[in-house]
C-alpha cells in the first residue's frame, strides 16, 4: 500500500490518522475563521466625511449608583415579604445591606447558601428584636477589621441562639463598614428541616473545619462559641460562668494568621434560665438536651420565647497569637490549650465587669 492513499482500519476505527496528510488543514482554517467571527465582533466604522465627536467632560451626576446583585426575579416577582422588608428598613440600613451584597458580586448565593435577599428580609425582622425586645447596647466596634478576616470568640447562653443573631445584626448595623458575621452553628442544627435552610440563607455555616477554613480564606468574620453546646445547656446557677473551651478556633487562628477578637455577651444567660436538663428524655427524643425552664414545657412552644432582657455586646482587644508564638505552636496541644485559656479568661473578665455593673446599677 502506498503512503499517499489513506489506510482504512475498518468501519469502526475510521481512517488511519498516520496515513493522512494535511486533510485537517482546511477544517482548522474554517474553525479559526468561525471562532474569530464569534470573538471579534465588527466595530461599526465612522462614515467618511463625518466629523469626529468632540470629547466632552462628563457631567457631574453625583456618586455612582451601587450595583445590585442580579437576581432573576428581583423586580418582577418581589414578594410580599420583600415589600414588607422595604417598609421596615430605613434608607441607611438598605445602604448597609447593599454594601454587604457587593461582597457576593452578581451571585445570588455564595458557597454556603447565603442569599442577600433572604438576609435582607431577616434583618428587617431581627432589627426589631435588636432595638425593642433585647434593647442591645454594644461597644468596641473599632477592633473589627474593615476587610480582613477574624475569629470572634464569644460566650454562649440562652436556650435559643439569640446571642448569635444579635451579634450578626450588630455587625450589620454597628460595624463600620458593615460586616456580615458568619456564625459557626452546631451540626445538629443542620439536620433540622427548614432551620438548616434558614441558617444558610442568612449566612450561618455548619461547624466543619473545611467551612471555617474557606471562610477565613475569603476574609470573613467568623463567630465561634468555643463553649459549644455546654454553654447553652448550663443551668441557671452557672450563668455567666464560661464552660471549658474547645480548641479548634485557636488552631485555625494560628493556621490562617487571623486575630481572635473576644466578644462578651451579657443578657443571653437571663433570657431563658435552664433549671434542669433532662438527659434521658433528650436521648429518647434524639435531642442534644431537654431543658426545663420556668416557662418550658409549661406553656408549650410559647414557653421558648425569650424574656425581654437587655443585651450588652462588647468587643475586646484582639489576640494575635501568631505574632507571639512560632508556627510550631500549632502542633503543641499544651500551647494551644494555654492560648484558649487566655481567651476564655479575657471573655470571663469582660462578662464579669458588665454583670457587676448591672447589679450595682440595679441596687
Amino acid at each position: 500500500m502506498s503512503r499517499d492513499e489513506p489506510t482504512t482500519l475498518g468501519p469502526s476505527l475510521g481512517t488511519d490518522p498516520f496515513a493522512q496528510g494535511d486533510g485537517t488543514l482546511p477544517y482548522l482554517i474554517r474553525l479559526r475563521e468561525r471562532s474569530m467571527r464569534i470573538v471579534a465582533e465588527p466595530v461599526p466604522r465612522r462614515p467618511r466625511g463625518e466629523p469626529r465627536e468632540e470629547l466632552l467632560e462628563a457631567p457631574d451626576l453625583g456618586p455612582p449608583v451601587p450595583e445590585l446583585p442580579s437576581f432573576d426575579d428581583r423586580d418582577e416577582s418581589a414578594g410580599a415579604l420583600d415589600r414588607l422588608a422595604g417598609l421596615l428598613l430605613s434608607a441607611g440600613e438598605e445602604e448597609r445591606l447593599t454594601q454587604l451584597a457587593h461582597s457576593l458580586g452578581s451571585r445570588p448565593y455564595d458557597e454556603f447558601g447565603q442569599s442577600p435577599r433572604v438576609t435582607r428580609r431577616a434583618l428587617a425582622l431581627f432589627k426589631f428584636l435588636y432595638r425593642y425586645w433585647f434593647r442591645v447596647t454594644s461597644s468596641g466596634h473599632s477592633v473589627l477589621p474593615e476587610k480582613e478576616g477574624a475569629i470572634l470568640a464569644a460566650n454562649h447562653g440562652g436556650l435559643l441562639p439569640f446571642d448569635a443573631s444579635m451579634i450578626v445584626v450588630d455587625g450589620v448595623l454597628g460595624a463600620r463598614p458593615p460586616r456580615l458575621v458568619r456564625t459557626v452553628v452546631d451540626r445538629w442544627a443542620g439536620t433540622l428541616p427548614f432551620v438548616n435552610v434558614f441558617y444558610a440563607r442568612v449566612g450561618q455555616v455548619m461547624g466543619s473545619r473545611d467551612n471555617v477554613r474557606e471562610l477565613l480564606r475569603a476574609n470573613q468574620l467568623v463567630l465561634i462559641f468555643p463553649e459549644g453546646m455546654a454553654g447553652v445547656r448550663k443551668r441557671a446557677a452557672e450563668r455567666y460562668v464560661l464552660q471549658p473551651f474547645h480548641l479548634g478556633f485557636v488552631e485555625e487562628s494560628l493556621r490562617h494568621r487571623v486575630p481572635i477578637i473576644p466578644v462578651a455577651v451579657v443578657g443571653a444567660d437571663d433570657q431563658a434560665p435552664v433549671l434542669w436538663d433532662v438527659q434521658p428524655l433528650a436521648k429518647l427524643l434524639g435531642l442534644p438536651f431537654f431543658p426545663i425552664t420556668p416557662t418550658f414545657p409549661l406553656f408549650g412552644l410559647a414557653g421558648l420565647v425569650p424574656y425581654p432582657v437587655r443585651y450588652e455586646i462588647a468587643y475586646g482587644e484582639p489576640f494575635r497569637f501568631y505574632d507571639e508564638f512560632p508556627p510550631e505552636a500549632l502542633e503543641d496541644p499544651h500551647a494551644v490549650r494555654y492560648m484558649a485559656e487566655r481567651v476564655r479568661r479575657r471573655i470571663q473578665e469582660m462578662v464579669d465587669q458588665r454583670v457587676l455593673a448591672r447589679r450595682s446599677k440595679r441596687s
Binding site: L9, G10, P11, S12, L13, G14, T15, D16, P17, F18, Q20, G23, T24, Y27, D72, D73, R107, Y109, D110, E111, F112, G113, Q114, V185, R187, W188, G190, T191, L192, P193, F194, N196, V197, Y199, A200, R201, V205, M206, S208, D210, N211, R213, E214, R217
Partner: protein
C-alpha cells in the same frame, strides 16, 4: 506528544474532551472508545482522532482490543476514563451502574499491565463525599467518603470505582489522577455525572446547595490533568452554587387542583433513607486543582426562571 485513549467518547463530556485534545498541539493522537456506532460529530476530527467501538464492560472485548494490531499501532500512553458521564440518567444504564465499576477495574488493571500506558485520568464525582449536615458545606479532598451499605446504588458505584482508582495512586507503573467533579451541566442544560435531581425526591424542609460546573470546564480540567504530571485527587467545580430546588426538574402538574398539589408534594417529599445528598449540601472546593493544575473555571452557569419556564445557560466568563 501524547497518544490518548478516551473512553465513553459519545458522552457529552467525552465530546468536549475530544475537541479539546484535537486542538491541543501536545497531543499527537486520540482514540475514542464507545459502545455505539461511530458518532457523526467525530467526522471533522478524523485527522487526529480515531474511533473504536467496544463494550468495556465485556472482558473479551477489552482483551481483544488490547491485543489487536490496531492497539499496537496506536500505542497510547495515556487514558482518560469517563465511565459515569454516560447518560442523563445513570439509573438507566444497561446492566446497572455496577458494570461501570467492573469496567473501571478491568481498565485500570489492564493499564497497569500495559507498560506503554503512563498516565490515567479518571473522572469521578463529588457525590462520593460524605455530606456534613447542613444546607451549604464546602468539602475539600480530605473529606471522608460516604460509605453506606444501604445507601444509593449509584453513589456506592461511584465510591467503588473511585476506590479502585485510588488503589493505583501510589503505584509505580501508572500516574493516576482522580478528578471529582461537581454536577456537570451540558450546553443543552442537562445534568451529567450527577444523581437524578428530581424536585419530587427532595425531602420537605431541605433544599441543599449544589455546585455546578460546565462540561467545557471539565474537559479543560481533564486535559490539564493529562499534561500536568501531578497524580492525586482534585475537586473540580465552577463558581456558581444553586439550591437544589432551582436545579431540579419541576414537579409534575397535578390534575386535582391546588390543595391536592400541596398534599401530593408533602407525600412525595417524605425523606428517603440513605440519600443524604438529598438533604445536605455538597460544594467541592476546587482550590487544590487551581493551585496544582492551574484550573480556573471559564464558564458560568445561569439559571433563569422557575418551574416549567426554567432555563439553564452556559455563559463564557468575561
Amino acid at each position: 506528544m501524547r497518544r490518548v485513549l478516551v473512553t465513553h467518547v459519545e458522552s457529552p463530556v467525552g465530546r468536549r474532551v475530544v475537541k479539546a485534545l484535537f486542538h491541543d498541539p501536545d497531543v499527537a493522537l486520540v482514540v475514542g472508545l464507545g459502545t455505539r456506532p461511530e458518532p457523526s460529530f467525530l467526522a471533522p476530527y478524523r485527522g487526529k482522532v480515531a474511533y473504536q467501538r467496544i463494550d468495556l464492560a465485556k472482558f473479551r472485548h477489552l482483551q481483544s482490543f488490547l491485543h489487536s494490531e490496531r492497539f499496537a499501532r496506536v500505542r497510547p500512553d495515556s487514558v482518560i476514563h469517563l465511565p459515569f458521564a454516560v447518560e442523563h440518567s445513570l439509573e438507566r444504564v444497561p446492566g446497572g451502574v455496577s458494570t461501570l465499576v467492573s469496567e473501571t477495574r478491568r481498565l485500570v488493571e489492564e493499564s497497569v499491565e500495559q507498560r506503554g500506558i503512563e498516565r490515567f485520568v479518571y473522572l469521578s464525582s463529588a457525590f462520593v463525599y460524605d455530606p456534613v449536615p447542613g444546607n451549604g458545606n464546602v468539602v475539600s479532598e480530605s473529606q471522608g467518603l460516604g460509605f453506606d451499605g444501604d445507601g444509593d446504588a449509584l453513589v456506592r458505584a461511584w465510591i467503588d470505582a473511585d476506590l479502585v482508582c485510588q488503589g493505583e495512586l501510589h503505584g509505580s507503573n501508572l500516574r493516576m489522577t482522580i478528578l471529582r467533579a461537581a454536577t456537570i451541566v451540558t450546553e443543552t442544560g442537562e445534568f451529567v455525572n450527577s444523581p437524578p435531581l428530581s424536585h419530587a425526591q427532595a425531602p420537605f424542609g431541605y433544599d441543599p446547595m449544589l455546585a455546578v460546573v460546565s462540561d467545557r470546564d471539565v474537559a479543560r480540567a481533564l486535559v490539564l490533568a493529562l499534561h500536568a504530571d501531578k497524580p492525586g485527587i482534585y475537586n473540580i467545580a465552577g463558581r456558581e452554587v444553586f439550591p437544589r430546588s432551582q436545579l431540579g426538574a419541576p414537579p409534575p402538574r397535578s390534575a386535582l387542583g391546588l390543595g391536592a398539589a400541596w398534599v401530593e408534594r408533602l407525600v412525595r417529599r417524605a425523606p428517603a433513607p440513605g440519600r443524604s445528598f438529598d438533604r445536605y449540601g455538597l460544594v467541592p472546593s476546587a482550590r487544590l486543582a487551581h493551585e496544582a493544575l492551574g484550573f480556573e473555571p471559564q464558564y458560568r452557569i445561569e439559571v433563569r426562571g422557575q418551574g416549567a419556564a426554567r432555563r439553564i445557560d452556559t455563559v463564557r466568563c468575561r
